[in-house]
């Protein structure tokens, strides 16, 4: 009975003529503060899903813990709001065993760059096909203003009231240093067209797409990018026919540099240089091996498995 039902469902799917509107992906009203960068990312993601007509039931948003990790609750797809720092292993388990699902990961800077750093490094190496968004507002927000690894040196917080002691970690530099990284981009929540185009390119990339999204926290880092917001010249946009293309962006952001995303060395140099905020695709290589392909589950039936296991038992027969 159950078999025939699922078969019917498959048949039904084949002739799926549903059309999804933005509202089909919108969950309850987000409970983030007004002015929070997370709202922009949520809107961009919902627009992306609409644009790509992703089925809500085969789309999974996985997150950890933190303000941004509430993200899945505000989508009308499947979601997994897990534990701090551990979104990537969960997402890996999902995509590895159900490669037909569309998987998105939403992490904050504490989540990804601090407590989950080991998973971040290894997820880049596994290169499982998913979109990983680092919503980086340079601070722990939900727990009320503690220093994160990306907090600028000298920036005061409740845990480091005389200012952050260490130079901020540069997630792009770290990412571009990991073997088998295949897609590394940076965008900013205050440039919605670029944010959307970046998410779209990340989704279309076959492999692990890492996108760092620069954000302001209206409560704890409200001025973090105010200079850059006011003076577009402080933002440099990476352009290339193979890169992220946003029509008309050059009018708002005339500071542009041509960068071939196939060039890992140039990408590393650009990422290292902190004199300007760079938005765009730093690196992409679709030829890198993907873990879910090299480690795919087999398709044996229960009967086949039992027959094989019986053969295996011959080795142990007394």
């Amino acid at each position: 009975m159950s078999d025939s039902c699922s078969l019917l469902h498959v048949l039904h799917e084949d002739e799926d003529d549903r059309h999804f509107e933005m509202g089909d992906y919108q969950g309850p009203t987000a409970r983030w503060c007004s002015g929070c960068g997370d709202h922009s990312v949520l809107a961009a993601a919902q627009r992306l899903l609409t644009d790509e007509q992703l089925k809500p039931e085969t789309t999974v948003f996985v997150s950890g813990i933190g303000c941004s990790s509430r993200f899945p609750h505000y989508m009308k797809t499947y979601g997994f709001h897990g534990i701090h720092g551990r979104a990537l292993p969960v997402a890996t388990g999902v995509k590895l065993t159900r490669p037909e699902l569309d998987v998105f990961v939403v992490m904050g800077d504490g989540d990804c760059v601090s407590i989950g750093a080991a998973h971040w490094i290894h997820a880049l190496r596994y290169n499982v096909d998913m979109v990983a968004l680092l919503l980086d507002n340079n601070i722990y927000g939900l727990t009320k203003k503690q220093t994160s690894p990306t907090t600028p040196q000298g920036y005061k917080s409740n845990t480091q009231p005389r200012g952050s002691y260490l130079p901020a970690m540069n997630p792009l530099e770290a990412t571009l240093g990991v073997t088998n990284a295949s897609f590394v981009a940076q965008t900013a929540e205050w440039v919605p067209a670029h944010l959307f185009a970046t998410l779209k390119a990340a989704h279309q990339h076959r492999g692990f797409s890492f996108v760092r999204i620069l954000q302001r926290c209206p409560h704890f880092t409200p001025d973090m990018y105010s200079e850059a917001v006011k003076k577009p010249a402080l933002v440099q946009v990476l352009t290339h026919p193979e890169g992220i293309r946003v029509e008309g962006l050059e009018q708002l952001y005339p500071n542009q540099v041509r960068h071939d995303p196939a060039d890992i060395h140039a990408a590393r140099e650009l990422a290292e240089d902190a004199s300007v905020i760079r938005l765009g695709l730093f690196f992409r290589d679709e030829s890198r091996p993907r873990y879910e392909e090299t480690r795919a589950l087999g398709k044996h039936t229960a009967r086949e498995k039992i027959d094989l296991l019986n053969e295996e038992f011959e080795r142990y027969a007394v």
Binding site: S2, C5, S6, H9, V10, G27, K55, P56, E57, T58, V60, F61, V62, P72, H73, M75, K76, T77, Y78, G79, F80, H81, G82, I83, R86, L88, P89, V90, A91, T92, G93, V94, L96, T97, R98, L101, A118, H119, I121, H122, R295, A296, L297, G298, K299, H300, T301, A302, R303, K305, I306, L308, L309, N310, E312, F313, R315, Y316, A317, V318
Partner: protein, 632 residues
């Protein structure tokens, strides 16, 4: 050859005496890397195939290659043979083969050797060119002379050099030959097993090892003056022989588990080795994660996605997985966790057995996180437990922790070949649409169970969360919801407990003086001790628990039929009479703690943490000492 010390003999002209035994233990000890374990495994397999009851247990030092000729670095294996089923490693070794006298000394100091043991000892060290080695030999002989050992020198190295250049790579097969002569093993089976052990290697490697086997056999026939004859049992059903970790791995395949996520840790890792070798032929994947936490996360992600996943670890890894297990309980994601226990706390005794993870496995998660804990007691149960665990995890949407241990992991014993069934396998992920109105946590108030939603099921879209949540999986801002959801998660366990049956008493179900209660791998040793005690007239019975959480029904009632109840466990407890220890402040064995709390019966305990399986003889002594009112 000159005899360097008293008690050592070289084989001479002799008459061969054949001793008939019903039960005997053999140990082979060496430096690491000399292959004693492989020798013992083949000896055990051949014996099992010939119809003996067999239990083998490995003696493993903590290092890969500890300094050679060192008592603490002794590496080896014990094989206990019987004319009937053997359920544990027994007491002391009757026949030992040692590749050097220091390894032998290591076993001697652990009281592993019977006072009248027969020992075959590599003779080369007595006449070694290095005077410090000769001195060590002499001192060792002196130390060993306080027992009635019969030590026979065997020129293993000298003999092996006639076949191989590097005797370190050959002595084990020579010794297999010696033992094969002593115990009259079927050489054809031994040759087959050697072929199997070296499969995938060059044919001449197998040939050379077979040559060494035959050499050892011939040397024994020519020089030794004793042999053993041991009866066999008629197997009523086809049998298979393997260790507990192999049984877990094959059990995982039989259960339809598709993903094993792990991080290397002793003594659990060999399950992954086994799976790495065979799992993928069945469509499974072994995922070696970047750490223990990620291994749990990947398994949980796969299970959330509707696949059958498990993670396998040992104590330190279980500690790291704790937060994820809490999440799986909270968000009601099925998950099987195998913990192959070793000595603790911390890194403890990585290669040695202990049963110290029980309370951590049950209560390790902060917050109330009810889930299932069960412990296989035999190697056969290591196989079947995997299907049981998967089914319970899925039916209850919760975590099932399987507590194996180093004793089961490396113990090898035959068991009836399972009649495999496709029904043991899991169904593919349910992809039917979710009917309108059904919520992701529609807890049935009678059972606490709710329908599992799997990505791909249209109409089931929701966000699962580790935060307190309501039936719709919405973050709960209402404290009553937390009380209600906690009740529902607990009710699942209660409903499940209701389906369990009371365990059977081994001995007198009607009651008696003493009831010994055990769990996990100690079953064989406890039941053997109880049988011996009963044969001596003591009114003692035993009870063995498979389910630790929830505990089966009827315990209090069973306990009430005995004058005294006592657990026997391989974990720490304060000993009565030690400084400061009172009945009030005494720290007790973990099961004892649990049983006292749940039954309000004054359950005593006898536990040891010696880094070795319990010996039935020692349990017997504990029974005698703990008989209420003394032995009758």
């Amino acid at each position: 050859m000159k005899l360097p010390t008293v008690g050592v003999e070289t084989p001479t002209d002799r008459e061969v005496s054949v001793r008939r035994v019903t039960d005997i233990s053999v140990e082979i000890v060496s430096d690491s890397g000399e292959g004693a374990q492989k020798c013992g495994q083949i000896f055990g397999s051949v014996s099992a195939k010939m119809g003996n009851g067999v239990w083998t247990v490995e003696i493993i030092p903590a290092e890969v290659e500890p300094p050679p000729r060192n008592p603490a670095g002794a590496s080896g294996i014990r094989i206990r043979l019987g004319d009937r089923e053997v359920t544990n490693w027994g007491d002391e070794t009757d026949v030992a083969v040692a590749f050097n006298e220091q390894a032998l000394l290591g076993r001697h100091r652990l009281n592993a050797l019977a006072p009248n043991a027969t020992i075959l000892l590599e003779s080369m060290w007595a006449t070694h060119p290095d005077p410090s080695v000769r001195k060590q030999w002499e001192e060792a002989m002196e130390e060993l002379s306080d027992r009635e050992y019969r030590i026979i020198e065997v020129p293993m190295e000298e003999q092996c050099l006639t076949v191989v250049d590097n005797p370190r790579r050959g002595k084990n097969m020579f010794v297999l030959g010696l033992l094969s002569w002593i115990f009259d093993r079927d050489l054809e089976r031994a040759r087959d097993q050697i072929g199997h052990a070296f499969r995938g290697k060059k044919a001449e490697i197998t040939e050379r090892n077979v040559q060494l086997l035959e050499l050892g056999y011939a040397w024994g026939a020519e020089h030794l003056d004793f042999r053993y004859e041991i009866g066999t049992l008629e197997a009523s059903a086809p049998m298979v022989v393997m260790n507990g970790n192999e049984a877990v791995a094959l059990g995982a395949v039989a259960a339809g588990l598709e993903l094993a996520a792990m991080y290397p840790i002793t003594p659990a890792t060999s399950v992954s080795h086994m799976l790495g070798e065979v799992f993928e032929r069945y469509g499974g994947v072994v995922h070696q994660a970047e750490d223990e936490i990620a291994a749990a996360g990947v398994a949980i992600g796969a299970s959330y996605a509707g696949r059958c996943a498990f993670t396998i670890t040992s104590g330190p890894g279980l500690a790291l997985k704790t937060e994820f297990l809490g999440l799986a309980v909270m968000a009601e994601i099925p998950l099987v966790v195998v913990d192959v226990q070793r000595g603790g706390p911390s890194t403890g005794l990585p290669t040695k057995v202990e049963q110290s993870d029980l309370l951590a496995a049950m209560f390790g998660q902060p917050g109330d996180a009810p889930h299932v804990v069960l412990a296989p007691a035999t190697i056969e149960e290591c196989f079947h437990v995997m299907t049981t665990a998967r089914r319970i995890a899925e039916a209850l949407r919760t975590v099932v922790v399987v507590l194996s241990d180093a004793n089961l992991a490396t113990g090898v014993a035959p068991f009836p070949r399972p009649a495999l069934s496709p029904e043991w396998q899991a169904a593919p992920p349910d992809q039917r649409p979710i009917p309108e109105g059904v919520k992701p946590y529609d807890w049935d108030p009678r059972t606490g169970v709710s329908r599992r939603f799997i990505p791909g099921q249209a109409g089931g879209e929701h966000t699962l969360t580790g935060l307190a949540h309501d039936e719709r999986s919405k973050v709960a801002y209402d404290s009553a919801i937390n009380e209600r959801s906690s009740t529902m998660r607990s009710r699942k366990l209660l409903a499940f407990q209701h389906t369990l049956i009371a365990p059977e008493v081994n001995g007198d179900a009607g009651g008696g003086d003493l009831l010994v209660v055990g769990w996990g791998s100690t079953r064989g040793a406890i039941e053997e001790a109880v049988a011996r005690a009963r044969a001596q007239g003591m009114s003692v019975s035993s009870l063995h628990l498979t389910f630790l959480s929830p505990l089966p029904p009827g315990l209090k009632e069973i306990f009430g039929r005995f004058r005294k109840v006592m657990t026997v466990e391989i974990n720490y407890s304060d000993k009565k009479g030690d400084p400061f220890v009172t009945d009030h402040n005494r720290r007790r064995g973990q099961l004892s703690w649990l049983l006292r709390a749940t039954t309000l019966v004054d359950v005593d305990c006898w536990t040891r943490v010696l880094g070795e399986p319990l010996r039935p003889g020692r349990i017997l002594q504990a029974i005698r000492e703990n008989m209420p009112g003394g032995t009758r």
